[in-house]
Symmetry: C2
Subunit: 244 residues, 2 copies
């Protein structure tokens, strides 16, 4: 059987170069949207609707949703939840629906809407995600959310970790240089991800917010087996969907 | 004095994220447009007009220009010159004006037209370029041409070499992750650039064309002191302009 392909896209602004129609697109926003989404499902959230604008969330709140919003790294005033994975480790989120908007992550999800399927990836669900991807017999595109469309390290390093784990089972395409670069950077960084990111732009932005604990947690692999996937307009926990 | 900034842009499709109006933009297309441009000036070419379409070249030919064109790595039939640096090491180019169109390089030059100044970089003029950039007291953006807007290794590695040489004299910006990634990849590759590119997409494309000699040459630093710069619609040898 011909191997399926694996690609890395460094920015939503480059996503139009990839053919996603037959691919699973894994959206990656390690600090912190996709990490929080993974951990939210681990703590029993029922669904998460990604919304692009803070204002749209109000309509969801009126329908009984919890609302989460982050802009420039901080929780938006008057919202129930921010972008810290710790804020989703709360019994109040169990069985709830959440409307979430973040600077980069939810925008990347929006841009991937033409994909065959959208999944959510982070170090927190790394191995579960990789094992699932291996079983799907689909091309895979790892879409790094970046920072306002700029290349960033943390998303690239996670993409590199996935390429490292899947390269034997998949083949590279014309976009191979991004996949190989991500994997090489991951190899450089993997023994001390936190230290490697010391000089990164996002770490510097987040320094002001004093969320070192968030960062350490978001860089810790395999805290959950949840695989969040888009179904219609919302993200659900695939493990729950499959047990229904 | 406040240090000027140095940035790396991995693709012309990301260039709109950078403020180029006060910056020197170094256009990089190592395999092979900007390498050929550097070596053309070393061999006495007077000027090179980058044109976007093969068809536009005819008008220049009528005006006495030599015409060079490459598409998908090959010289276009009926043209005087291709994209191999060796084709510009010919006495026939001395004192001539050339109209040149290539798949990626001339497109990147076109997209950088809002820059304060455009310069042409390649391993072939590496140290001369770096020394000149240090003296300009301007922000610098290293623009990788990539392959049809995709990230590529060879341009990134040269950008990384320049960051490595200039980092002490410049400062990083919000786009720092691309600059640091380029530099880290350069450190991985620098002892055997040719071997490192073995798996790269462009090497694989060029394999079919049997131009290994071109590639080895294009990866050899410091074959010329020429610094090609845009003045109006054409590229000139800065060293010649300054001696006039």
């Amino acid at each position: 059987m011909k191997k399926k392909s694996i690609d890395v896209c460094f920015s939503p602004a480059l996503f139009h170069l990839y053919d996603a129609s037959e691919s699973i697109v894994v959206v990656i926003d390690v600090l912190r949207a996709t990490s929080s989404i993974c951990i939210a499902f681990e703590h029993g959230v029922r669904s998460i609707v990604p919304v692009s604008k803070v204002e749209e969330s109000s309509a969801y709140r009126a329908k009984g949703y919890l609302v989460g919003a982050e802009r420039k790294g901080e929780m938006v005033e008057g919202f129930d939840l921010g972008n810290s994975p710790f804020s989703y480790m709360d019994p109040k989120v169990k069985d709830r629906d959440i409307a979430l908007t973040t600077t980069n992550g939810t925008q990347a999800i929006a841009i991937a809407r033409n994909a065959f399927q959208i999944a959510i990836g982070s170090f927190l669900n790394q191995d579960a995600l990789c094992n699932w991807l291996k079983q799907q017999n689909r091309n895979v595109i790892l879409l790094c959310s970046g920072w306002k469309n700029s290349f960033n390290f943390e998303d690239t390093l996670f993409a590199g970790a996935v390429v490292h784990k899947l390269l034997d089972s998949f083949e590279l395409t014309d976009h191979r240089d991004s996949a190989l670069a991500a994997m090489q950077l991951y190899h450089l960084a993997k023994d001390d991800l936190y230290g490697f990111l010391e000089q990164s732009s996002h770490r510097k932005r987040l320094e002001k917010l004093q969320i070192e604990d968030d960062i350490v947690f978001c860089l810790t692999p395999n805290q959950t087996d949840c695989i969040p996937v888009m179904v219609g307009d919302a993200i659900y926990n695939l493990n729950v969907l499959q047990s229904m």
